[in-house]
Amino acid sequence: MKVKYFRLCVSIAIIFSLWLTGSFIVGNDLLLPGPVKTIQRLAELFISGEIFSPLLFTTLKALGGLSLALFFSLIIGFAMGLIEILYEIFKPIIITLQAIPIVSWLALAILWWGVGFRSPLYIVFLTLFPIITLNITEGVKNVDKKLLEMARVFNLPKKIVFKDIYFASAMPFIVSSLRISSGMMWKTVAVAEFMVGISGLGRMISDAKYALNTTDVFAFTVILIILGIVSEIIFDKLSRRMMVRAS
């Protein structure tokens, strides 16, 4: 464990020294503000409380989009996994959805939902929904057929078969898709806020860009990076626990 933390410290030190060296060489805060300045700005943002409102709005949109995606993915993913006809009908639709570039959604979002809270939320949903759905479908389809036979021989009630066999088999797939999604959701919400938002960290980056305040761009980016890393760690821990249980 100690060795692991030591290596982590080394890698953080490398990032900071590269950043520091780069900012010294460039010598212009407008192009590349250094880590010290960025951390100072971060501290200011937290002390003044300026950061909390955008942080809250971004988190609400990201988690809202993720929850919405998870809700619909569970329904459609299970239906596709269990019923072959639905799988054949829905799979091309879901794959098409997955292939639509985020910029197209952004362009349409302005027209459909306007600039505001809803557009980033729906864009997060639309980005994550296909990924989670396909993963859940895969999980349900991968269910151990031998366990299903056992359930048939012993006449297990449908509720138990669903809960203990289908759902439990899909669980590692659900968690691993959430892990992938948790990384993507912060990036997606930030892009959406940048383009079609009126609040949140993405919007703050957009404002900072117009004000040529590169230090703020860096400070808000650092927060987004931390959010991404923290949520990945949480889901990674969860999925490891699932994998241990499943094996």
Partner: protein, 226 residues
């Protein structure tokens, strides 16, 4: 009659697995079906348990509850031993059966935490917890070491004596068939050639009797395969 199989046929594609096979089973009987690997023994159990339908012929089932001990145990890997048994019956019955197979102290362990022999015993406890009239055993001692297998044979006989269920045990091991059965059906390829050995209660036999029966069964097995 508990089970009556009349002239069933089963093929997968063009490959015949079982041809014109008939068999009947009385209550409390312990029948072993002895045959070489791939002769269709497992398919027969799948037909009896209604996991497969015969292409033709008829299977009359005059029992209410059927237990199945699968070759690969088929325990739910993410559930502990107690849950795996109680899921088919009830917690109280599961606890009784786990005690009878000697695993009550391991009731909260997961299948991966148990040895192969323990997993078989859990699987046996699961099948018995429903108080079956008929129990199907699909090579239940395959891949176990000799000592564990010996313990399992003793355990199955003990439980058979106590619960008085009928059993169909499929195996490729003549010694195991000799140890356990009241009757042994030796089968050749596709069940076309078969020969029945009536043995009487396995509880009354000595080691020497079983050794002699084993030799006889081996001879029969060779002859039906010719």
């Amino acid at each position: 009659m508990l089970l009556n199989i009349q002239e069933i046929n089963k093929a997968f594609g063009t490959q015949t697995i079982i041809e014109k096979f008939s068999l009947s089973l009385q209550e409390g009987e312990f029948l072993s079906i002895l045959g070489s690997s791939g002769c269709g023994k497992t398919t027969l159990l799948r037909l009896v348990s209604n996991l497969l339908k015969p292409d033709s012929g008829k299977i009359d089932r005059n029992y209410k509850r059927l237990g199945f001990v699968f070759q690969d145990t088929r325990l739910i890997p993410w559930k502990n031993a107690l849950y795996n048994v109680s899921v088919v019956s009830s917690e109280s019955k599961a606890k009784i059966m786990l005690s009878e197979v000697g695993l009550m102290e391991h009731h909260n362990k997961y299948p991966t935490e148990l040895s192969g022999g323990m997993e078989r015993r859990i699987s046996l406890a699961r099948a018995l917890s429903i108080e079956p009239h008929l129990i199907l055993l699909d090579e239940p001692f395959g891949s176990l070491d000799i000592l564990t297998r010996e313990d399992m044979i003793k355990l199955v006989l003990e439980l058979w004596k106590k619960h008085n269920f009928a059993a169909i045990n499929v195996t490729h091991d003549p010694y195991e068939a000799a140890r356990l059965s009241t009757r042994v059906l030796v089968v050749g390829k596709h069940f076309t050639k078969t020969q029945m050995h009536e043995l009487g209660s396995p509880l009354d036999r000595s080691e020497t009797d079983n050794a002699n029966i084993r030799n006889e069964l081996l001879k029969t097995l060779k002859s039906v395969l010719d």
